[in-house]
Symmetry: C2
Subunit: 192 residues, 2 copies
């Protein structure tokens, strides 16, 4: 499918409000089917997602967001994704990395396991936001929510832990603020 770097990066903006319209479940499946191919350490792919798009689910999630803007954003979005990590991702390694005993890399090392789960899921959240834009969706990632409450509501009795909550839909350009500055190449990068 053809896309442009403008659509993905230079013209894309974080959505603050959405135009009317549904996001079909088929689009959410297509989104995952892009995200899943992005590289992770030893193919651990720990990202787990709850796509919330029913009125009951949306209200339950909204009540877990920080009061104020974030609650309203979830209530107004066609879909909101809870993006988290599976702290027990190593259970899947015989499937995901069949060429060797990859579980041995993590055995007896819970700190390494947790670090790998959290770091690689965040790399995949980067893939998720760009993949959503590739499919014509705008994304509104947020960190302001009660992660324990989200986990209890959407991942009860599981080793999945929420990291970012991200609204999805067709962004309303009238709701955007002016874009904030970025660091220049010479402020952020070195050539050696």
């Amino acid at each position: 499918m053809q896309v442009s770097t403008e659509q993905l990066f230079t013209d894309a903006r974080t959505a603050r409000g959405y135009l009317p319209g549904e996001v079909p479940d088929e689009a959410l499946r297509a989104l995952y089917d892009l995200v899943k191919f992005g590289p992770t350490a030893g193919n651990c792919t720990p990202l787990r997602i709850v796509f919330v798009r029913t009125p009951e689910g949306r209200e339950q999630l909204a009540r877990c967001m920080n009061p104020g803007g974030n609650q309203a954003k979830v209530r107004a979005a066609p879909v909101t994704a809870v993006l988290g990590t599976d702290l027990a991702f190593t259970d899947w390694l015989p499937t995901l990395y069949p060429s060797t005993d990859a579980r041995a890399w993590y055995a007896g090392n819970p700190a390494k396991t947790h670090d790998t789960a959290v770091r690689n899921a965040h790399i995949q959240i980067g893939y998720f936001i760009i993949a959503a834009r590739a499919l014509g969706l705008d994304a509104g990632p947020m960190g302001g929510f009660d992660a324990g409450a989200v986990d209890a509501a959407f991942w009860p009795s599981t080793p999945c832990r929420s990291l970012v909550v991200c609204t999805l839909g067709r962004g309303d350009p009238a709701r955007l603020h002016p874009r904030d500055p970025r660091l220049s190449f010479d402020q952020a990068c070195l050539l050696r």
Copy 2:
């Protein structure tokens, strides 16, 4: 610039070796000028990059990689990026988020500052890998290296800390292994 989701996700592979040819510095600047626009929490954009492409720099970096394959990969790649985070990113917030005193969100909370620096830099590493592919480069991200040695060599006396090392160039398709499996939508996602 036109690209395709196949080039970015479904057909793209992690490079294990590179075809001959340089990557001009202009391409590295173009890469950063895509990556910088991806969203981060409160526009904190903590990712910092060292692009290593001189023979001396390459050898210095190779010696910091885990013995075996990772050293050889760095020695064979036209460019290798050290991707890290600026633990003092809050110093830039008056520039990056001028509409309010965003430094106050982190004041007196070193754990939150560190967590924000590490998590958001990893989201930006996801943007970096996809942006490289958008520019026709293949990426070879690696976690197996001595981070303290990399920081001492490339970011001495700074608050920058390396997270991922990523080779860049035109990947050699003859060097690829078969692709590993991915979890299905129903294994990784819930609809609510």
